[in-house]
């Protein structure tokens, strides 16, 4: 290109925005638009995570992960309400397992029933050990009792809900009726028509699950009465004294009473 032209263009280029000017302008713009710099993206994510869960849950989850889960996980297994690792058990381990159990409803019913069994056993152990140490059951701190009552109630509701779902599903299949309220539309659409044999089998399995639940209730009847945990009346599946959600399992039903954490 003609040198004159070249020089001409170079002169023009001298008018360009310098790096400093650009950076300054960029910062001004970001401030005005209230954009935080990229390094703060992690801060934003952190803030969102910690809104949903209290800090100690995150801290313990992190510890569990970092310290190589199995050791602590095993220790948590035997934890009772009031123990250090009990919260890890309830709020970290079990939710994870629950998520892994996944969508299969009969497995879910089993899972929740099993967990309910654990809750009841924990309560029994706690109260009996208190007795052994010479304290009366009443002396087991009121707060702990509230927690236990809460947790057991919650778990009972879950177990009942899952079992109910199975029952309802089964009933609908038998009668070939319109899907009931408890069934989502999607479930009814993906439901495969079951053979007569399957139906009978499912019915059996279904009954077994209800039996399991009933057994549990019977086994721990004293405790349940003592703690005044209200359970669903078996004969009126529609009426629930507690709000039982038939939605996703990991939703907690609403209690008016005990506040958690």
């Amino acid at each position: 290109m003609n040198p004159k032209l070249e020089q001409f263009f170079n002169t023009l280029k001298s008018h360009r925005l310098s790096a400093d000017e650009k950076n300054l302008a960029k910062r001004e713009l970001m401030a005005r638009l209230e954009i935080t710099p990229a390094s703060s993206v992690w801060l934003v994510i952190w803030q969102r995570v910690t809104i949903v869960r209290p800090m100690w849950v995150i801290a313990t989850a992190l510890i569990v992960v970092l310290a190589g889960g199995t050791g602590i996980s095993a220790a948590a297994e035997g934890a009772l309400p009031g123990d250090l690792f009990y919260p890890i058990k309830i709020k970290v381990k079990e939710p994870i397992t629950r998520a892994l159990v996944g969508r299969q409803e009969d497995k879910r019913a089993d899972f929740e029933t099993e967990i309910l069994g654990k809750r009841l056993e924990e309560a029994e152990r706690l109260f009996s050990s208190a007795k052994v140490e010479g304290k009366e059951q009443e002396e087991v701190a009121a707060k702990l009792t509230e927690q236990i009552k809460d947790e057991v109630g919650r778990q009972a509701a879950k177990a009942l809900a899952e079992t109910e779902k199975l029952k309802v599903k089964q009933a609908a299949v038998k009668a070939k009726e319109e899907p009931t309220e408890a069934e989502s539309e999607q479930e009814s659409m993906t439901r495969q028509p079951e053979s007569k044999q399957d139906q009978n089998q499912t019915a059996e399995v279904e009954d077994k699950k209800e039996e399991k639940l009933d057994q549990l209730f019977e086994q721990h009847r004293e405790l349940i009465e003592k703690l005044e945990i209200k359970l669903d009346n078996k004969n009126n599946p529609g009426q629930d004294k507690r709000e039982v959600r038939t939605g996703p399992v990991n939703r907690q039903p609403n209690h008016g009473s005990a506040k958690r954490d």
């Binding site: 002169t11 023009l12 280029k13 001298s14 008018h15 925005l17 650009k22 302008a25 713009l29 970001m30």
Partner: protein, 166 residues
Amino acid sequence: METNPKMEKLFLKAYDDYAEAIFTHCFFKTSDRELAKDLMQQTFLQAWVYLRQGKEIKEFRPFLYRLANNLVIDWYRRKKSDSLDRMMDEGFNPAEENLSVELEAEANQALKLLDKLDPDDKELIVWRYVEELSPGEIASMLSERENTVSVRIHRALKKLHQLLND
């Protein structure tokens, strides 16, 4: 609509990519450095508002150029309708911060020369030889064929050459 990190990232990247181009574009249309910076900021501000309304920006460059052009046009309109005093004020070139006096004189000369071109030719020259866009890129911005653009650039360059030699 809420701001999300992805939107911000996209926006900031567009800024990194096109801020200079927008500034240059505004500068050569107004011959006023501070004003050009201002218009550049306003351009991006408007783009941000657009994003926050939930609208999608498919291609930033032509979009930003359109915004910048409109801002420049608005500025000219306001300038025309202002009082004579005000016009005289704005006629003064603000001090060039980073250029020496000599360079400034030369730069102003160059600007004046450039202004002798048709606005369209001037735009092509600036895009091609100051912002160093390729003919293909320019063509896509103008929605013209690359060939057409190349020819026009060539003609504009010839005219400029002539002006320089006068």
